[in-house]
């Protein structure tokens, strides 16, 4: 058969139909006529509902998926390899691009690992740590918003997508205000932060919190009780606790199976033990449960953001060790963020030693004592781990990211096999994989 929507061609593997949109029934009918009942459907890597460049290979029987596999690697950019050719400080510029929806988590995890290698965890100023937590929790909100928004869109619920991106925009505005960039910030640096919060940032964030407290219930009203939404999500993408542990699934997937495991509580970092928040769980182990968990986590994050704002005290945002901290307070110039004019005047005009020190620190970077360290943070998707190895040089010897999207995506087969084709989309959306993180 050959129609406009599904042209057939003979290959050594049998008849291959190239589906280009159109009538699905036609394809199914034609396929039913063929002797071979096994249909392998390739979905992606360029398909709007596969969350980026994810390729799904589905073996189907009628509407039932009998086998599901992922093809990944389409967004592999060799970030881990690249890190080995830059200084430790430059590393943040790379890692922020891995899972581009959770930039601050990538940066924090990397910096925590470098700080562990340097042995300066205790010297990072309080203000820097609080701002890190603040940014991470804002980031958790924006990541979950994208998950819920795109997840909704993939179900055909476009309203929830508009809502999600509307609220994410508010957060991106805050990022822009604080770091100068909407994505790929490289704001968190080994030893602290690139710079302090700009004037007025706290007021802006407070205003945002107020707005968000009003907007968050809209998701509940729109989706939580919505019978269509529930029918599409409930009992779909099922993965129980045993499956989670075996497949290494963490984050909302693990918590939807009923285990309240959250690194912020279990192995606190950045002073999370001093914040007041809950770890929501459900026992449904399905996509709907994960949706509810993400909603609740957004509320908790908002509460943590408020606590951060209450705690902020004036102070430094970088370690005092002059051999690690870049010597200048950075300032925004016409060509982007750079050294402040005052600092340039000082090193160029008055102090040769300061100039040498600045030059060596920026071009060479600092040395990190040999050894290895593992630092993990609870990203919106689960355990984000960084294994950093130093050989005593000014560049990382090896940095490996244990990205939760990568690990969680393995659960796709377990969630989808035996289910309907349409449920594959829901299951994948409930995993919330971001290919930038999966492929790195």
């Amino acid at each position: 058969m050959s129609t406009q929507s599904a042209s057939a061609r003979e290959t050594t593997e049998g008849t291959v139909y190239t589906v280009t949109g159109g009538d699905w029934d036609e394809v199914v009918q034609t396929a039913a006529k063929a002797d071979d009942e096994r249909i392998v459907v390739n979905m992606g890597p360029q398909h709007p509902s596969t969350h980026g460049v994810l390729r799904l290979i589905l073996e189907i029987e009628g509407e039932t998926v009998t086998e599901a596999r992922c093809g990944i690697g389409y967004l592999h950019t060799g970030i881990e390899k690249n890190l080995e050719y830059r200084t430790w400080t430059q590393g943040t510029t790379f890692v922020t691009r891995m899972d581009y929806l959770t930039s601050f988590f990538n940066e924090t995890a990397y910096c925590l690992a470098v700080e562990k290698l340097l042995g300066i965890e205790d010297q990072v100023p309080d203000r820097a740590t609080i701002i890190r937590v603040l940014l991470m929790e804002l980031n958790r909100l924006s990541s979950h918003l994208v998950c819920i928004a795109t997840g909704g869109m993939e179900l055909g619920a476009t309203t929830i997508m508009i809502y999600g991106f509307r609220d994410r925009e508010l957060i991106l505005d805050l990022y822009e205000l604080i770091t100068g960039l909407r994505m790929n910030h490289a704001f968190i640096r080994p030893g602290g932060l690139a710079q302090d919060l700009p004037p007025g940032a706290v007021d802006h964030i407070r205003e945002f919190v107020k707005k968000m407290q009003k907007n968050l219930p809209e998701y509940d009203k729109l989706a939580t009780g919505n019978p269509i939404f529930k029918a599409r999500m409930q009992d779909v993408g099922h993965l129980d606790l045993t499956g989670c542990m075996a497949l290494g699934a963490t984050g909302p997937i693990l918590r939807s199976a009923g285990l309240p495991h959250d690194l912020r509580k279990a192995q606190p970092y950045c002073g999370y033990e001093t914040y007041d928040f809950d770890v929501p769980t459900t026992d449904t182990a399905d996509a709907y449960g994960r949706f509810l968990i993400r909603l609740e986590e957004m509320r908790q994050s908002l509460a943590i953001v408020e606590q951060c704002l209450d705690r902020l005290q004036p102070g430094p945002v970088m370690v005092t060790d002059k051999k690690i901290a870049w010597p200048a307070q950075l300032a925004l110039g016409p060509d982007g963020l750079g050294n402040s004019l005052d600092h340039i005047k000082k090193i160029m005009g008055t102090s040769m030693e300061a100039l040498i020190h600045h030059f060596k620190l920026v071009t060479e970077g600092f040395r990190v004592p040999p050894g290895q360290a593992y630092a993990a943070v609870e990203s919106p998707k689960g355990e984000l781990g960084v294994h950093a190895v130093s050989d005593g040089g000014t560049r990382p010897y090896r940095v490996h990211y244990r990205d939760p999207s990568f690990t969680n995506l393995q659960a796709m087969a377990a969630m989808c096999e035996g289910g309907q084709v349409a449920d594959v989309i829901v299951a994948v959306a409930s995993i919330d994989p971001v290919m930038g993180g999966v492929d790195r």
Binding site: Y85, G385, G393
Partner: protein, 256 residues
């Protein structure tokens, strides 16, 4: 050999009355070297990555040994001893001599690392997972590291195991020579390692024996070579910036 290294990087100046900072094992945040302790993984000569032509840098005679933290002695401190005791006990119950299985135990930066002989890795992992006193249920995957100058132990596979029951994290490290890059697969114990092992194979060429389908995962199927090995070039082209040619990242001067 150590004096040259200390200059300019530790910032203390170097008066004759001061102790040699490179020999000061207790010092924190020091560059490069930690006295003569630890395991040597490489000897580095010269600086700036220059290895051809005459020595114009003046650093050509510099010899520096790169050492990773060496084995720790008991007590390891905290719950580390408990885990080590339990693991050794459990291995003895399985008629294995702990000293044959655990090459060395390293405690560094508040982290516990067991270096495991590769043939015993699956047994050790299964013990760590199933023993009620150990119960490391979650494996966070495997990270490959390449030490080309560490002869006979060039390829390392590093596993981080998390126990949710006891709220602990340990590290297992296994090494294999370049000439025989085989390490037993842990997919049977931790199915999550499926993709992680494929990734380590893809980038380092570590062959995980017993893996159900060890194929490339990130690179194209017909890719030649293993990109994250140290001898594999990063690649890239020179870029012009404000009139100057900036060389490709792997052609730039190295200070390490």
């Amino acid at each position: 050999m150590s004096g040259a290294n200390g200059n300019g990087t530790n910032g203390t100046g170097g008066g004759a009355d001061r102790p040699n900072p490179d020999k000061d094992l207790g010092a924190s945040n020091l560059p490069g070297q930690r006295g003569d302790g630890g395991e040597e993984i490489r000897v580095q000569r010269g600086m700036f990555g220059a290895d051809s032509g005459g020595d114009t840098s003046g650093y050509g005679g510099l010899v520096r040994s790169i050492r990773l933290p060496g084995p720790a002695t008991r007590p390891y401190g905290g719950w580390f001893d408990e885990v080590a005791d339990e693991l050794e006990g459990a291995l003895e119950e399985q008629d294995l001599l702990p000293e044959n299985v655990i090459g060395k135990t390293v405690v560094d930066r508040g982290e516990l690392t067991f270096h495991i002989e590769r043939e015993h890795l699956p047994r050790v992992a299964r013990t760590l997972r199933d023993d009620p006193a150990l119960r490391f249920e979650l494996c966070t995957g495997v990270s490959g590291v390449h030490y080309p100058a560490d002869k006979g132990r060039e390829l390392h596979a590093v596993y981080h195991l998390r126990s949710i029951t006891h709220n602990r994290l340990i590290r297992l490290e296994v090494s294999a020579p370049d000439s025989d890059p085989r390490i037993p697969s842990l997919v049977g114990v931790y199915p999550t390692n499926d993709w992680h092992e494929r990734e380590a194979y893809d980038f380092f060429g570590i062959v995980f024996e017993g893996h159900p389908a060890l194929t490339r995962i990130m690179m194209p199927d017909d890719w030649q070579g293993f990109p994250q090995r140290k001898d594999y070039p990063l690649g890239g082209i020179a870029v012009e910036y404000k009139g100057a040619q900036i060389p490709a990242p792997d052609q730039r001067r190295s200070y390490s």
